[in-house]
């Protein structure tokens, strides 16, 4: 079966499609997170080096991965939007940013919660932590630039450029801080030498990551529906000819 993808690139056509997908992603997310929590909190044995504090890994690492993954996806949509001049792509960038920023914030907070008992400090200037902090600033920059520009088209394109520039920045920051830390050897904490994980722990972590991913999809799709409603209300409803269609789309 050949699916006509271009049909769904119009916000009007995408709206009901997204509405149909949200419950599926939401259900899968709830189930996977439940199993992941069961494994991570109840089944997995303790880590003999770090004690029970290591269990924070089951929210920390998935949140950190999602924060970076969502930024790259957001920049990808921005590139598509800038290249093809597609409205829906920019709506996707707008919908992804808040969820990405939330996961970045969560990665930082849970990282501090993990750092205090294991390294004795809430915060260390390690490459990963610093890049994550800068990532949060970049999310904030992309979102604030959008809200400060009144003209919708310009807001879309300007924040898209901003997101794309940031994608180049994050790896550079990661390596520069790593370099900087080797220079200041005394203060640095080695976190790269992670102990080999037991299979059950890895399973729990991957399940949680998959659950967070599905959660992000559900949340982003429902946000994109809000964005479509807010932006296109007039064209949107006038294009639907019958009351039945209006009811269906809702």
């Amino acid at each position: 079966m050949k699916i006509n993808w271009s049909k769904y690139s119009a916000p009007l056509a995408f709206y009901p499609l997204a509405g149909k997908m949200i419950p599926w992603f939401g259900t899968v997310a709830a189930l996977t997170i439940a199993v992941g929590l069961y494994i991570g909190l109840l089944v997995a044995p303790t880590d003999f080096q770090q004690g029970e504090a290591y269990r924070i890994i089951f929210v920390h690492v998935p949140a950190a991965w999602m924060s970076m993954f969502l930024y790259v996806v957001m920049a990808g949509w921005a590139a598509v939007g800038l290249g093809l001049n597609a409205r829906l792509s920019f709506m996707m960038t707008q919908a992804i940013a808040p969820t990405g920023a939330m996961f970045t914030f969560l990665a930082l907070v849970t990282g501090a919660m993990w750092g205090k008992p294991t390294w004795g400090a809430w915060w260390v200037w390690d490459a990963r932590l610093t890049s994550e902090l800068i990532l949060l600033f970049q999310y904030a920059g992309v979102m604030l630039l959008r809200t400060s520009i009144d003209d919708q088209r310009r807001a879309d394109r300007a924040s898209g450029v901003c997101a794309l520039v940031g994608v180049v920045n994050i790896p550079i920051i990661y390596f520069s801080v790593q370099w900087w830390n080797t220079l200041h050897q005394g203060a640095s904490v080695s976190m790269t030498a992670a102990p080999k994980m037991a299979a059950i722990m890895l399973t729990g972590m991957l399940l949680m990551t998959f659950g967070f991913w599905m959660y992000s999809l559900a949340v982003i799709l429902s946000r994109v529906r809000c964005v479509i409603l807010e932006r296109e209300s007039v064209q949107f409803w006038s294009k639907l000819s019958s009351v039945a269609e209006v009811a269906e789309v809702r």
Partner: protein, 57 residues
């Protein structure tokens, strides 16, 4: 199969309970808050568009 011997041991998390539970609770609250905020945003957007549909009829 379950690793813990008692509920209190589970809650104490080997002395790290405060850190572990704060992390999990903050994550859960953020997600719930995000879903609630989205739900309210949707209600507001629908109310507005309902006004527009009515004016079109």
């Amino acid at each position: 199969m379950v690793y813990w011997k008692s509920v209190s041991e589970f809650l104490a998390m080997g002395g790290y309970g405060l850190y572990v539970w704060t992390s999990f609770i903050i994550t859960a609250l953020s997600m719930v808050w995000e879903i609630l905020a989205l739900w309210r945003r949707r209600v507001a957007a629908l109310a507005e568009s309902r006004g527009i549909t009515r004016s079109l009829e």
